[in-house]
């Protein structure tokens, strides 16, 4: 397992370089924006990656909370399936605001039970919480990049750094704020139940995001704003490069998460070792055993 990391790292570096080449050289120049539009090949993949990571955090948080009691554990599994099926069907039946494709919504909903069972199988018990903090932190990093590159892109093209009615950028900002508060809660909370509190906060955040989206969407319809992200279809060649770029960033995000995950496991080992030492007195040799079950989970 350990040897896979350097190999994957080299492969990812090559992939990122290839994506950069595609973005700067191969992709055609945009008719309206010139070459500045190429920021999109970093901006959008970062956004999709951040959303994916936050999605995983949400699923992991819900499962972590539900697994606390055997009754809720069983119920949650059925609810996950129900949500997936109902949501996927509803996406095609309920009229959606303009600009949102039913297939995208349906895929998101179907992903819920899929991820739920996948995470439950490969990240049992405390590992769910380790995954939660990992995806939250790495997600914030990618989300920061989205919020920084967004205005950098907007300024030369639309003349303004920010538009409050820009639904995507503003929703992303709120998501960023929620997860930064999540990380701060983890850092500052001294409770034995910090992990559960943080998971509850993640659930609140997830419930909040669609509400944010709709509130800004309606605000826009009453107060027309410049459309920064641009809508509409993309040149297929540009779309190809976008996908290549996203693939490269996904591999990169995977490696970063893997590193953060290992760091968290190590941190909990050290914390447990500290605790054991203060319990049994200094000077005794305490074998540091397997990771996992600490009662304090911050950072």
């Amino acid at each position: 397992m350990k040897r896979a990391f350097p190999i994957l790292a080299v492969f990812t570096a090559v992939l990122l370089a290839y994506a950069l080449y595609q973005a700067l050289v191969v992709a055609p120049t945009d008719a309206q924006q010139g070459d500045v539009y190429r920021i999109i090949y970093y901006h959008v993949p970062s956004a999709w990656t951040a959303f994916l990571l936050f999605f995983i955090n949400f699923i992991a948080s819900v499962q972590y909370l539900a697994d606390g009691k055997p009754t809720s554990k069983q119920a949650a599994k059925w609810i996950a399936v129900a949500v997936g099926v109902v949501g996927a069907v509803a996406a095609f039946v309920i009229p959606l605001p303009a600009g949102i494709r039913p297939s995208a919504i349906a895929t998101t909903f179907l992903a819920i039970p899929v991820f739920y069972f996948f995470l439950g199988k490969y990240f049992p018990g405390e590992k769910l919480d380790v995954l939660a903090v990992t995806t939250a932190e790495v997600g914030v990093v990618f989300c920061t990049i989205v919020l920084v590159t967004g205005p950098i892109w907007a300024r030369p093209v639309w003349g303004i750094w920010w538009a409050p009615g820009d639904i995507r950028l503003t929703s992303t900002l709120v998501l960023w704020l929620i997860y930064v508060s999540y990380l701060i809660l983890r850092r500052f909370s001294d409770s034995a139940q910090t992990q559960k509190l943080a998971a509850a906060l993640a659930v609140f955040g997830a419930l909040d995001v669609p509400l944010v989206y709709f509130s800004i969407w309606f605000f826009r319809t009453q107060h027309p704003q410049p459309v920064i992200g641009g809508g509409g279809s993309m040149d297929p060649k540009m779309l190809d490069v976008l996908m290549i770029s996203w693939t490269a960033f996904l591999f990169f995000a995977f490696l970063v998460c893997w590193s953060r995950y290992r760091l968290e496991i190590l941190r909990r080992e050290v914390e447990q070792a500290h605790a054991m030492q203060s319990l049994s007195g200094a000077g005794s040799n305490v074998a540091v055993s397997s990771p996992a079950l600490t009662s304090r989970g911050s950072q």
Binding site: L177, L185, S189, A192, Q193, L207, L211, S215, F218
Partner: protein, 224 residues
């Protein structure tokens, strides 16, 4: 131990205690007054656009006053180890939460009742749209702040920098509600747009988060 009786008993106790020591109430009222005055110095009330920004100003002022009030929510319980007693009692955790939330709702509503006339006076406000719609907006908006505020106040109990943790957690999650309150109020004051969507948004927000708070409060109460 029936749910309703526990809720009402806890609520009555809080009101009685609050009424006996009017300290918190008086200082909060004065604080609210100060906020309104400061705002009237900072944002020119004579300007033509004051009707457009008054909605935002009122709700931001209420938000900050509410946070100061919410930070007190669990202080009394902490001082007297009441939470430990509650944890081991058969009383449903939700009853305690609901009592606290309703108590906060009443308290913040009192603050609003004081601040709103002051704003109307300072900013010479007159609603060009249907003024009665301001009532559902105020009720739903206040509940939105208070229900999450009470929940996050409980979450913040065992954190370092407890007072700053509450707004830190509350503000991001409250953003859609704040948009709803402000946009709805502005729509009614200026009379430019209908406020229906905002009222429905606030109602949805309230239903979603009241459910979430009730479902998850047990977890928070057990946090030690």
């Amino acid at each position: 131990m029936n749910f309703r009786s526990v809720t009402l008993a806890t609520l009555a106790k809080d009101i009685r205690l609050e009424w006996r020591s009017k300290d918190a109430l008086n200082s909060m009222l004065f604080f609210s007054l100060l906020v309104v005055v400061i705002f009237s110095f900072s944002f020119d009330p004579l300007a033509e656009e004051s009707r457009h920004i008054a909605g935002g100003l009122i709700w931001v002022a209420i938000l900050f006053a509410a946070v100061v009030a919410l930070n007190q929510t669990w202080a009394r319980e902490l001082r007297n180890q009441v939470l430990d007693a509650y944890r081991v009692s058969p009383a449903p955790a939700n009853a305690l939460f609901l009592a606290k939330a309703i108590g906060n709702f009443i308290f913040v509503s009192v603050l609003e009742a004081l601040m709103t006339p002051l704003f109307i006076v300072f900013y010479n406000l007159r609603a060009l749209g249907p003024a009665w719609q301001l009532i559902p907006i105020a009720l739903l908006g206040t509940w939105a702040l208070v229900v999450n505020g009470t929940f996050f106040a409980a979450m913040s109990i065992r954190t370092r920098s407890r007072e700053i943790m509450l707004p830190l957690l509350l503000f991001p999650v409250s953003i859609p509600a704040v948009i709803g309150m402000v946009a709805g109020t502005t729509a009614i004051l200026t009379g430019d747009d209908p406020a229906h969507f905002w009222i429905i948004l606030l109602l949805t927000y309230d239903v979603v988060f009241t459910t979430a708070c009730l479902a998850l409060f047990e977890t928070v109460l057990q946090a030690e």
